[in-house]
């Protein structure tokens, strides 16, 4: 490429540098392949099966949606810890009005999505207008929503959701529920927005240099608000689809998703487009984490606790990795 000819520094880079760069960019997908191979060799009859593939791809589509939604505020430099609160609250409210109060589906759906938008706007009010740290704000709203859910549902599990919700989410295509395809569709949509529209570039600049963004005429507050509303909406949709998949809404079900979604988004930011929160990085990271967990459960017989150990470790290591490599690149940059 002409680019390379223009930049002798690039041409002089060693084979070792390139190897490091490739490993860095595609480390997560590569590790995913390694894990699949290792677990398949150790437990071929349990791990390397179509059923298990469907299990891995299908059951965690909800988690993938949450992580993709979370990627949006993270790209804009804001945390959103309220996603699982929104997930539980909105799906429970939808179940409450449809099951207990027999609302028709469409108004119930609009009501649910309006709640999600209202929560996103509440977060944005405190974060953007008042200037409260997003970590604190969303930790608070998320926790409050969890409590509110238990209060309003009297901690009970709803079953018998409207037929259409169940059909739309759990109908199988090629052995996988439609929800899986929605999650992949969401990944495409997010990839498109982040990489191919001005909004994606704005999100990135608002996250990495808010003052630069402002001095380039970008409406920084509006971008942050949209990001928080988007993650809230996506979390609500994930909650509704989860309700359809299980044909039940359990107010306690969501909490375990929070750390996994963060682990996925942060690990995703170290790969594909390293240093940036990106759609396909999040997809690869989520499936790496799930494969690791499922594989360990199958091969070692470990139970639920392994999820927490694995997710917690991955989250810290992912952030550490991105810092270390970020410094390496910065050092290489200043030497050039």
């Amino acid at each position: 490429m002409a680019d390379l000819a223009d930049q002798p520094a690039t041409a002089r880079r060693s084979a070792g540098w390139w190897a490091g760069e490739v490993l860095y960019r595609f480390g997560v997908p590569a590790l995913l392949v390694v894990l699949v191979v290792v677990f398949s060799l150790v437990a071929p009859s349990q791990f390397f099966t179509v059923t298990n593939l469907q299990n891995i791809l299908g059951t965690q589509a909800i988690l993938l949606m949450l992580a993709l939604g979370l990627t949006i505020p993270l790209a804009a430099g804001e945390f959103d810890l309220s996603i699982v609160g929104v997930f539980a609250f909105v799906s429970a409210m939808f179940a409450l009005v449809t099951v207990d109060h027999s609302w028709p589906v469409v108004p119930a759906l609009l009501f649910a999505l309006a709640l999600a938008v209202a929560i996103g706007l509440t977060n944005a009010f405190f974060i953007v207008k008042v200037g409260v740290n997003s970590f604190i704000t969303t930790l608070g709203t998320g926790t409050a929503l969890g409590g509110l859910t238990l209060l309003l549902t009297e901690s009970k599990t709803f079953s018998g959701l409207p037929e259409v919700v169940v059909t739309v989410s759990s109908t199988r295509l090629l052995g996988l529920p439609l929800t899986f395809y929605y999650a992949i569709g969401l990944a495409f949509a997010l990839w498109y927005v982040l990489e191919h529209t001005p909004v994606g570039r704005w999100l990135y600049f608002v996250g990495s240099g808010p003052e630069v963004a402002r001095l380039n005429g970008i409406p920084v507050g509006a971008v942050r608000t949209v990001a928080l509303v988007a993650s809230s909406l996506i979390a609500a949709l994930a909650g509704l689809l989860q309700g359809g998949l299980l044909n039940a809404v359990d107010p306690f079900s969501a909490q375990s998703y929070l750390l996994s979604a963060f682990a996925g988004a942060f690990l995703g930011a170290t790969t594909i487009k390293p240093g940036r929160f990106n759609a396909w990085g999040t997809v690869a990271a989520i499936y790496l984490v799930i494969t690791g967990i499922v594989g360990l459960q199958i091969t070692t017989g470990a139970t639920g606790y392994i999820t927490d150990i694995f997710n917690g470790t991955v989250l810290v290591l992912a952030v550490a990795l991105s810092l270390v490599v970020g410094r390496r690149r910065a050092a290489a940059g200043s030497a050039a």
Binding site: Q7, E195, P198, R201, V212, L215, G217, I218
Partner: protein, 526 residues
């Protein structure tokens, strides 16, 4: 206020607290300081003054142990030669304390915490903090400077003058505790102080000297130097330009020493109104420092704005661009009122700002050149639902060619470019919008000479050929003298003097910055 302590210090009174002989410092091939000598007598306040780049900072950093001077110079404290370089712990061990503008106070902690921050006294066996002693010490320190303050109140609540005195009290405690008398260096300590607090600081400074220590008072401001010092040393181009007892000194003479030549009286007259249309019209603009500033810039005109540190000029770019809100006043660009505008309104009205901080304001270091350069105009590249990457790259490559940005790779990470290339890329970016008014804030900071020349050539060409109005806010007077057709010199937030035509040279600008001319300062201190 003359303290009896002076008599007690009599035996050593003739020996300078600090004696510097033939100190030089070269960086690469540039001499920042050449053969500099200085004596500071105990019980005196000694001024140090000079323009940006005169070697003041280098000297202070040598005193602070950050820089090793070139071999050959000597430095004696209280008559005894000390080993050079001093090293980071050297100054404190010798009884030298350097106080910078930021004062190094922790706002959220109490006065007593701040006074004891680095030297909590502890007692065995558990190294328990000796609170009672610390509190008594704190009260004693405050009493010395007649500060009647609650020692448990957080420092954040104190007015600027009291904060500065607190920092001085702390510094002095360290010096005197070990040596009885030492040297307190105040580096632009008044820059962050409101006027009414400056006199309080001076009282404290005189008291320090009265008690037998010496003070090296480093400042840009002639009025402060003449008000508080006993003698002044002037640095010019890295060399001592002379040491004069303050009592024998007129401001005019001091300016001559600083600038290096005699300056003629300024007529202060305004330029004849040019025929070109006004592009920028500012009326009664008030900001944090700026007070009632009015001026205009016409099409094709290059106007410079300068002043000493903290005179308000650095506020101007942000206010004109809508990045900071003006307290009041009107800003009109080509007839559009931008007094309370946001940056995007300013951009729309045809204003472009190349900000003072390239990284952090102008660009994100980790993003590519293309991403940074196209940020303000992304909408133009969004066609049929897709950002046109090829066209961005083509345009940026074109820009790198026209503005000689190296490397010419649109995908290069912005932070990897040199300062000059970053600045050329940002200039090209904003010029590409065809602005009516281009604002440059310290455009030559960290930019090599060749890139400077290229940048100013582009700007001057656009002003001449496309009637672009240009406003350059800069502290580099040689640069302003070369490129500006008018220079506004600010003093304490207001317009001090406007220089045009034959008055427009580096020395006249510098002299005006120090208060020469205009009606705000008497030229001769009588």
């Amino acid at each position: 206020m003359t303290a009896p302590a002076q008599a007690a210090a009599a035996p050593g009174a003739d020996v300078p607290i600090l004696s510097v002989r033939g100190i030089s410092k070269t960086f690469g091939s540039t001499a920042a300081l050449s053969d500099f000598s200085l004596d500071i007598a105990p019980g005196t306040v000694h001024g140090l003054i000079g323009q940006n780049g005169c070697g003041k900072s280098t000297f202070i950093k040598i005193l602070g142990g950050f820089h090793a001077p070139d071999p050959g110079g000597r430095l004696a404290v209280r008559g005894e030669d000390v080993e050079l370089p001093l090293g980071p712990r050297g100054p404190a061990a010798l009884g030298i304390s350097i106080l910078h503008q930021d004062l190094a106070l922790v706002d959220t902690l109490s006065i007593v915490d701040n006074l004891r921050i680095a030297q909590w006294a502890t007692e065995p066996p558990l190294r328990r903090l000796r609170w009672r002693a610390a509190r008594a010490d704190a009260r004693r320190l405050l009493a010395r400077f007649e500060l009647d303050l609650d020692i448990d109140q957080p420092v954040a609540a104190l007015p600027g003058g009291e904060r500065a005195i607190l920092a001085i009290a702390r510094a002095l405690d360290g010096i005197e505790g070990a040596h009885g008398a030492g040297l307190l260096v105040l580096d632009e300590a008044t820059a962050a102080l409101p006027d009414d607090q400056v006199e309080r600081l001076f009282t404290a400074v005189r008291r320090v000297a009265g008690d037998g220590s010496a003070v090296l008072f480093v400042s840009h401001r002639l009025d402060e130097i003449t008000a508080v010092t006993d003698a002044v040393t002037v640095l010019r181009d890295g060399r001592g330009a002379g040491t004069v007892p303050t009592a024998d000194l007129t401001e005019r003479e001091l300016i001559r020493l600083i600038v290096g030549r005699d300056v003629e009286e300024l007529s202060g007259g305004r330029l004849q109104a040019s025929a070109a249309a006004e592009v920028l019209r500012v009326r009664g603009l008030n900001g944090a420092i700026l007070r009632d500033l009015s001026f205009e810039v016409r099409a094709g005109e290059v106007v410079g704005v300068t002043g000493l540190l903290g005179m308000g000029q650095d506020e101007l770019p942000g206010l004109l661009f809508g990045a900071t809100k003006a307290a009041s006043g009107s800003i009109e660009v080509d007839g559009t009122e931008l007094g309370q505008a946001r940056p995007r309104d300013a951009i729309r009205a045809g204003v472009a700002l190349v900000p003072g901080q390239r990284i952090g304001e102008g660009a994100v270091a980790e993003a590519t050149v293309t991403e940074n350069v196209t940020l303000a105009t992304l909408g133009d590249y969004f066609r049929r639902g897709w950002l046109d990457g090829d066209r961005q790259v083509r345009d940026v490559r074109d820009l790198t060619e026209r503005y000689a940005v190296k490397p010419r790779t649109p995908h290069a990470v912005f932070g990897q470019l040199s300062g000059g290339n970053q600045q050329k890329a940002l200039l090209g970016k904003w010029m590409g919008l065809g602005p009516k008014l281009l604002i440059l804030h310290e455009p030559a900071h960290g930019v090599d000479i060749e890139a400077r020349r290229e940048i100013f050539n582009k700007v001057l060409a656009a002003a001449a050929e496309e009637s672009m109005a240009v406003l350059i806010v800069s502290s580099e007077h040689d640069e302003l003298a070369q490129v500006a057709s008018r220079v506004l010199v600010l003093w304490e937030g207001g317009l001090h003097v406007e220089l045009t035509g034959g008055q427009l040279n580096e020395h006249a600008i510098s002299a005006a910055c120090y208060g020469h001319g205009g009606d705000r300062l008497p030229v001769e201190a009588t």
